[in-house]
């Protein structure tokens, strides 16, 4: 109990009980296993863990790994065309085909909650007040309604009902994962057919990951910090 009430204040009674039940009192618990345990080292091992049988980006889940060629310019250097410029292969892009991701999304149990036809939503606050249009979801937006109507009215031989899969993309280079992929830049796909109240819940697993872009370029701010620290270290060691 002394350990529990000292150090970090984030240790709850429940977690302490769990530590004792699941770790200390476990039948296979041996104190000598922890003889030269280093928390930092074990955490680093978890971060760099790459299991060949279940990799982070498994091909079975539709992940494709490849490098991306980009043409590189230089100031004051002229090329006859973009194709004539030197090409740098940026390694380590992981991505999934958008069509496969959307197909998969429509086959998940969550798809039962998708809105497949858009509509307008109205609200009458009280008997005396006028009706108000409510703008809240992709499937009640004018953009979705007009796209739905446009696709529906296009002439085609197929008589199947048409549905618009409203794709919403997110990408944020500052939004980094905590394990292994910390230097990657994710693009997420959500479907606007699912209500934002469901989509917004982390437990709904509504985010589909479509790409992890390698961060190959220098982060200039970080580089400046390194230069600054190097300079500081040089000054300190000179003194």
């Amino acid at each position: 109990m002394n350990w529990h009430s000292t150090g970090s204040k984030l240790k709850s009674i429940g977690e302490l009980q769990r530590l004792v039940n699941e770790v200390v009192n476990a039948p296979d618990f041996k104190q000598e296993d922890l003889a030269d345990f280093s928390a930092t080292r074990e955490a680093a091992r978890l971060d760099t863990h790459q299991d060949k049988k279940s990799p982070l980006f498994s091909a079975g889940d539709g992940w494709i790994e490849r490098s991306v060629p980009i043409s590189v310019p230089a100031e004051g250097v002229k090329h006859t065309s973009e194709n004539a410029a030197p090409v740098f292969e940026v390694p380590g892009l992981y991505y999934r085909r958008i069509v496969e991701v959307v197909k998969g999304a429509f086959q998940e149990p969550m798809a039962a909650k998708y809105h497949i036809a858009p509509f307008k939503e109205f609200w009458k606050p009280s008997e005396d007040e006028p009706i108000e249009r409510i703008y809240s979801e992709v499937f009640s937006s004018d953009a979705m309604i007009s796209e739905h109507e446009k696709i529906k009215s296009e002439p085609r031989k197929c008589t199947l009902e048409t549905v618009v899969a409203s794709i919403m993309l997110w990408s944020d280079s500052t939004h980094l994962a905590s394990f292994g992929t910390a230097s990657l830049w994710p693009i997420y796909l959500f479907l606007g057919n699912l209500s934002k109240y469901t989509r917004g819940m982390p437990t709904s697993f509504a985010a589909h990951h479509i790409a992890y872009i390698p961060k190959v370029m220098y982060n200039l701010d970080a580089e400046l910090v390194i230069i600054y620290i190097d300079a500081l270290a040089a000054i300190l060691s000179a003194e």
Binding site: V72, V99, P109, V163, L169
Partner: protein
């Protein structure tokens, strides 16, 4: 420095640049290359399958057992990189 290993990949870009042009890439070149990379990634993501699904739709069986033709459309793109949207506009226009 403890942080150096994180920039290993970027070093290879600078090495490449140094070898080809005999000078280090400037901030403007790096910004340009970041955009080029993003565009190149989207060229891969918007592949032939996607364009076909965009134009003709894909037939999927829904949870109610009924087959419907699904058309993929982009509604929003939330990103910290506004230039990317320009790219979409010129692809679809």
């Amino acid at each position: 420095m403890l942080w150096r290993p994180f920039f290993q990949l970027s070093d290879t870009f600078q090495d490449f640049y140094q070898r080809v042009f005999g000078t280090a890439a400037t901030a403007a070149v790096l910004t340009h290359c970041k955009r080029e990379l993003m565009h190149a990634v989207w060229m891969l993501l918007l592949d032939k399958d996607f364009l076909e699904a965009y134009v003709y739709g894909i037939v999927l069986q829904f949870a109610d057992g009924i087959f419907r033709r699904v058309f993929l459309r982009f509604f929003t793109y939330a990103a910290d990189y506004p230039e990317k949207f320009v790219y979409f506009l010129f692809i679809w226009s």
